[in-house]
């Protein structure tokens, strides 16, 4: 082949490479445009009462019934359900993740670490709908049995069991991120602490963990963002009833659960129901973006020693 032809081919090749990397930008733009466009249509829709009132209704009404005859579009029940479940998940995930991470990075021998890691990764590979099945038919009956002994009534659909399952589901993710940031703490800090006579446990919790605190915080924020965006576990086990409650034993609906519920029906393009899942999805996108940006901010705060 002549050198000129080779050069031309090379340009083409590089153009192709650049094009494929730009696709990721197009995808992001497409997500944002699709979400914003349909969200605007939702807020200017006749049935919601046009733009200014519908946005006010979105944040002031206390019921979410866009699919019913009488349409109420208060987002709070969905937001409340989303955060309730994510909160339960974090209650499980934060202490367990911290202990596992500290144990693996400061105490465990190399061999234990190597043999434990793949199992934690397996936990991450389980399909989410399988977790949903387990929450509904494994954890909920168990909770009903245990809490029933204390006289508490757990409904078949509740916020507690998907919360617990979600907490364990994100555990490998948060634990490995926390462990990474613990490992980023330089060895001489530990040695300085030992030389002052501190025990291993004191070093771990009074020196290493505080030194890695921004990394740990960032890990938990990413975990929380996952719990907020997770769909199948809550769609199966949390119920389909938008409920403004903080009682974890009652059924709730999350934003993702609502999107699934509506998407299961036949959706005419640009109908009010169709637009409502985009409005809800846009809010979900904003919330998870906020958590991710916060996580990135805290990650940038990690001190370099």
């Amino acid at each position: 082949m002549k050198i000129e032809h080779k050069k031309k081919l090379d340009y083409l090749f590089k153009g192709f490479l650049i094009f494929t990397s730009l696709v990721s930008i197009f995808v992001t733009l497409a997500i944002v445009i699709a979400l914003i466009e349909d969200t605007i249509k939702f807020f200017t829709h006749q049935e919601a009462g046009g733009f200014p009132t519908s946005l006010i209704r979105f944040f002031t009404e206390r019921e979410w019934t866009p699919t019913f005859e009488i349409k109420k579009i208060g987002i709070w029940p969905l937001l409340c359900g989303t955060f309730l479940i994510a909160f339960i998940a974090m209650i499980i995930s934060v202490p367990l993740g911290l202990v596992i991470a500290v144990y693996l990075s400061e105490f465990a021998s190399y061999r234990i670490k190597e043999s434990v890691k793949p199992w934690l990764d397996f936990l991450e590979a389980v399909p989410t709908v399988v977790y949903g099945y387990f929450a509904l038919l494994g954890v909920t009956p168990l909770l009903q049995w245990i809490l029933g002994k204390f006289g508490l009534v757990v409904e078949g659909m509740n916020a507690l069991s998907p919360g617990i399952v979600l907490g364990i589901m994100i555990l490998p993710f948060t634990a490995s991120l926390v462990e990474d940031s613990l490992r980023g703490v330089p060895q001489y800090l530990r040695e300085a602490s030992y030389s002052l006579g501190a025990s291993k446990l004191e070093t771990a919790f009074k020196v290493v963990v505080p030194a890695a605190r921004s990394g740990i915080l960032s890990a938990y924020l990413l975990g929380a963002s996952r719990a907020i965006g997770e769909t199948m576990v809550v769609a199966v086990a949390a119920g389909m009833f938008p409920n403004l409650t903080l009682n974890p034993l009652e059924p709730v609906q999350t934003i993702t659960g609502y999107i699934v519920q509506v998407a299961l029906g036949d959706l005419p393009f640009n109908s009010f129901e169709y637009l409502s899942i985009f409005a809800a999805g846009f809010l979900l996108f904003i919330v998870s973006l906020f958590f991710n940006l916060l996580a990135i901010y805290f990650k940038s705060k990690i001190e370099r020693y």
Partner: protein
């Protein structure tokens, strides 16, 4: 208390929590196996279509659908992800565009998967008019796999020493030749690991396919691609996780057994794929020592 005792208690606590997490995994596997046992070993389960009668319902159409959809997803994610990874790692440099793309890919991997479903519904289904088809599903899952593939491609390229690139350029190789004669062969294993991991994640993915209108009751197979490729791409679909979701959300208990059986198969496939990627990574670590 003596600090040694405290340390021992803490170590015990750490192991206990890890065991608890593992126990969870085993509990899931056992629960699915026990619940779905009589369907898992039932040959008709694999060769029949969904049905109103739980005992006659099977997963044939969802198995075939999974294969077609995943073939599409793997094609798109490799076609778009590997070149993007090569560009960012080799030619992007530290420029502004490369930085924006990089931040973007990090952000994309943190977007909830159901948002991808909304994107697919709004853009592919209604604006591009691809319909609720195998093509749309493949594209959607392909985009979902994209960030993983880009990241692993970059990581495996990073392990190749500079000397190889300089040697190739010194002998007059063009970028194209460098990539196809040197970089891709050496990084093939790493990229393959990434593809397998991304595949195992996408196979279990349900939410984005639900929003683009995966049907749960399909009693026919899409035309085979060698006869009618376009017809195959345009045909409606169902996949294993969707079939399982449909069964688990029904009130009748008999359908839950079907869901358990489908879930068990799904779990086994995902764990198998993950084990393969572990094995590959382990082998690769030994193969190349530059």
């Amino acid at each position: 208390m003596h600090y040694k005792t405290l340390e021992r208690i803490f170590s015990f606590l750490g192991i206990l929590f890890i065991l608890f997490a593992m126990l969870f995994l085993f509990a899931i596997a056992i629960k699915l196996f026990v619940d779905g046992m009589h369907r898992i070993f039932d040959l008709k389960f694999y060769t029949s279509y969904p049905s109103r009668f739980p005992d006659q319902a099977g997963i044939l159409s969802s198995l075939v659908g999974t294969i077609y959809v995943m073939a599409g997803a793997i094609f798109w994610s490799i076609f778009l992800g590997v070149p993007a990874g090569i560009y960012l790692e080799e030619f992007g440099g530290k420029g502004r565009i490369a930085r924006i793309i990089e931040a973007n890919i990090t952000n994309l991997s943190a977007v909830p998967s159901i948002i991808y479903g909304l994107l697919a519904l709004g853009i592919f289904v209604y604006r591009f008019n691809f319909g609720e088809s195998i093509l749309t599903a493949g594209l959607t899952l392909g985009l979902l796999m994209l960030p993983v593939i880009v990241v692993t491609t970059r990581e495996s390229l990073r392990r190749i020493p500079r000397a190889i690139r300089e040697g190739a350029y010194a002998l007059g190789a063009t970028n194209y030749e460098l990539v196809f004669h040197h970089l891709l062969p050496y990084s093939f294993g790493g990229i393959l690991t990434g593809v397998i991991i991304a595949t195992s994640r996408a196979i279990g993915e349900t939410a984005p396919l639900l929003t683009i209108g995966a049907l749960t009751f399909i009693a026919f197979l899409p035309p085979p691609p060698w006869e009618d490729f376009i017809g195959m791409l345009k045909s409606p679909f169902t996949v294993l996780p969707i079939q399982m979701f449909n069964w688990v959300s029904r009130p009748q208990e008999e359908f839950h057994y079907n869901a358990a059986a489908a879930g068990f198969i799904l779990l086994v496939v995902c764990l198998l794929l993950n084990s393969v990627s572990f094995y590959l990574r382990y082998k690769l670590r030994k193969k190349y020592t530059w």
